[in-house]
Symmetry: C2
Subunit: 511 residues, 2 copies
């Protein structure tokens, strides 16, 4: 029962002219600006916040700062248990992970773009909602123009079609399955899955698990999602798709949806879209391209050929928050045929989307969404595009791919490294095992693989505890744990790549 | 082909020491901090941004500032067409809607909490992702502790159960339907809806349209969502529910899910949860409480009785971004039985959720979600709770309900007003028609209602064009367009309520 007010930056904040007094509760109400005479204090408070944040940003880009200050859950919880909120706001940043650090390579989304960040600060200050033009006029129009631009880049004539920003690639992929179902079996919307025959979906064994989540959630069932074989680089084998489509039809099932991945999560593989599109056209199947990770390459004249055929897709997922460095979250689902998104999701709720408003209500896009309230994800992206231009994104993407080629060329023949698959990486993913000296002499045996399986987790654990860098690892199919290096961080340089390999060698040497 | 760099606050920004030069593209790449010697410029840039934002905030709370500066879509588009990005960043705020203005009453989410805003700024600077403890250690723990606290407030013993923050109430409600289906028919996850009998869902005719969206998306079909009759205050009639459950069973269907709304969108009605829970227990049906709008009242000792019985629910949606003033987006789905969320959604993607990490991986909550990447929605809420305390939220909620009682008492017998239903509002929703003098003498005829139907849209259009205040209107069932006043804005006072009625009378007088 302590009477405290609110601590930020080592200063106690209270809107009351008097010092805090004991009450029968734990806290004193602080509302800053709405309080009388709260203005000066509010601005002062926000400036203190900004000072903390700019210090954080400065340090994030300083290579001598740790990427993280690792603590186990129980250690952090000691300071938080019982909701006593002892953890201060500076600790929140202190114990967090610096995802913008030049040596953070752990996820597909890395980096901290300052213009994008400014966009987020403005967005949260505007604090509005995307469902109607009425309350988000500028953002709704920005979304519309940006989606059109993205469709032009995909290659749909005049940028025609439709789309919406959604809370992440998994939801964008879910949209694609829903829209495909609506296109072929619109009566499912009203009558449920009982109105359709047994529908089957196809995706690569290397594809993102969101396709599987969607097939479970939307009522298809994961057993009706058929996994496609891939070549050793992780790309779908088109002949396998056709064989499985024919097999499904022979069983009386209806092949409805194929997902082709442009940039798989682990290998960074690009499925051959044109060959897959041929099969989809032949059998009248919806073709979705999951370009959550690889879609950004469409901005690069040098690399966009990897998505050749994308313009033949019926829908595309594309996450600017991954390869294009836009702050989280920013994911688009783009649809070639106009009207499907609306038809699939609209429920015409009169209380939200009144047809008798004074402006052109076709700009009210909310009824296309499966959400009601929808966060403004567009502004940071718009602002970055404005700042960098298309060429700025292209330069960023080309630079990241150059860096990954540098890493690949550096380690492909280096002692102590073994590539998971042969050949230049298609995306920035470089997949490799580090072989500690103690394993180098061993014959290719089960024992060797078992021991190698434990190497990456051990190195990763030491890496996190020393806080110097972060890179992901995972098994895949019959391959034991290996490192997956990915580069999307605009701050990374060759020296950071060199640092990563040195660090792996330092930490793994005696394993 | 103009060579420009990036304009913010009237200043051109470029990371290059040289002035911008002509290139063969429209823009020059600007990346600020990662550029050499970019540090000073970055901090300077962010401080300029903050100056714009603090000026915006100052004005937002100034009643002499307009709520909006209305322009039609085609007018705004003139400045944006062809993606030439002429619209400057200050214009973005200028043409936006000030949702924090004390006279903005248009949505369920209003207000601009400064502490919450600071939380958002920090969140976007941290720019991380909720799927693993590994990259969001502090936020993941904060989410866990906050969800437990919310479950304690609901009344589940020791705060046991599960939950997750989702991108809005519609998705939270969708989760509830998915989880209920998994509880009763887990085989649907793998085999699809064909593995279940014909399932039916029940919800009020006044409930939020997201229940209908979920029934379409998840493969039930909207025809299998049965709408329940309500009393004249918009509350579900339990006898109607029981009759419809029995009828469905007689047809051989399986009643699976009932949604009870705590705070309907338009009337602000609270369905009688205890009576509905009795029926759900009797027939073994999942009970979900959609407290997206009304859940906040659980924080108020005076008003929480309106949700009596909520502890009997199997799942609860509760949006702190509505009645509790947390910035958008912040919505929780809470589940009484532990394990269902995980069981329903997990796909065990080895590349994301490695079991052999060095920390306790039960803290990796990502596989419970239908999303993969997930925005950090928790920190602003945590920070506000820390600042205000539970009592601060209670004071805010009690004050908003007092204000709506003030409005109700003011207009219930006032000339020119007609209440849509009788009796004190249960939530802050006050629903009324304004009757212009020209309609006051008319008999209760079809003509009168037809004319009245046009009054609210006309007043609203004039209101938006004058930019003085904003309030929503809609029809509901057989009721023609009426105003729905809602109060969740901490900055609103009685004088703002008085202003609203004066403004309606001023604008509507000559209609």
């Amino acid at each position: 029962m302590t009477a405290i007010c609110f601590c930020w930056a080592g200063v106690w904040w209270t809107p009351h002219p008097q010092p805090p007094t004991q009450t029968n509760t734990d806290f004193i109400f602080v509302d800053l600006l709405p309080a009388k005479n709260g203005e000066e204090q509010t601005i002062q408070f926000l400036l203190e916040v900004v000072e903390i944040l700019t210090n954080y940003i400065r340090k994030t880009f300083d290579r001598s700062t740790k990427v993280l200050d690792f603590h186990h859950p129980h250690q952090l919880l000691e300071g938080m248990e019982g909701f006593n909120l002892e953890l201060s706001d500076q600790d929140t940043l202190k114990y967090g992970v610096r995802t913008g650090h030049p040596r953070f390579f752990n996820q597909l989304s890395t980096g901290l773009d300052i213009v994008g960040l400014a966009g987020e600060w403005l967005t949260s200050t505007a604090n509005t909602n995307m469902f109607t033009y009425e309350i988000a006029p500028v953002f709704v129009l920005m979304e519309q123009l940006t989606l059109k631009k993205m469709r032009e880049i995909i290659g749909w004539p005049d940028g025609e079609g439709d789309g919406i920003f959604s809370p992440g690639g998994a939801i964008s992929n879910m949209y694609s399955v829903m829209i495909a179902r609506y296109k072929f079996f619109p009566e499912v919307k009203t009558k449920g899955m009982a109105a359709a025959p047994r529908l089957v979906l196809f995706t690569s064994e290397h594809s993102h698990y969101s396709i599987k989540k969607a097939s479970a959630a939307l009522g298809f069932g994961t057993e009706n999602l058929i996994l496609l074989n891939t070549d050793e680089r992780g790309r779908v084998i088109p002949a396998d798709l056709e064989a499985k489509v024919i097999e499904a039809k022979q069983k009386g099932y209806v092949p409805m949806f194929v997902n082709a991945t442009a940039g798989t999560t682990v290998y960074g593989a690009f499925d051959p879209i044109n060959e897959i599109a041929d099969i989809c056209e032949k059998y009248n199947i919806w073709l979705h391209v999951d370009g959550a990770w690889g879609g950004g390459l469409l901005m690069s004249r040098k690399h966009r050929h990897k998505l050749n055929g994308v313009e033949r897709a019926n829908s595309v997922t594309w996450n600017p928050h991954k390869m294009m460095g836009v702050p989280l979250q920013c994911s688009a689902i783009l649809v070639r045929e106009r009207g499907l998104l609306q038809g699939c999701n609209s429920m015409c709720a009169g209380y939200l989307f009144q047809p008798d408003k004074q402006y052109d209500v076709t700009y009210d896009t909310g009824d296309k969404a499966i959400q009601c309230g929808r966060h403004v994800d567009i502004f940071k992206f718009w602002l970055m595009w404005k700042a960098k231009g298309t060429i700025g994104f292209e330069q960023h993407i080309d630079k990241c791919l150059d860096l990954s080629a540098y890493l690949y060329n550096k380690i492909k023949n280096r002692e102590g490294y073994e590539m998971v698959f042969n050949g230049e990486p298609q995306h920035t993913n470089v997949c490799f095992w580090y072989i500690p000296p103690s394993l180098r002499g061993l014959p290719d045996s089960e024992e060797r693989w078992e021991r190698l399986h434990k190497v990456a987790p051990k190195i990763k654990a030491m890496m996190m505890e020393s806080g110097t860098t972060m890179v992901g690892y995972q098994p895949q199919g019959d391959k034991v744990n290996f490192f997956r290096m990915v580069i999307s961080n605009p701050a990374a340089t060759r020296s950071d790549i060199d640092f990563l390999t040195e660090e792996i060698e330092r930490l793994g040497h005696d394993l």
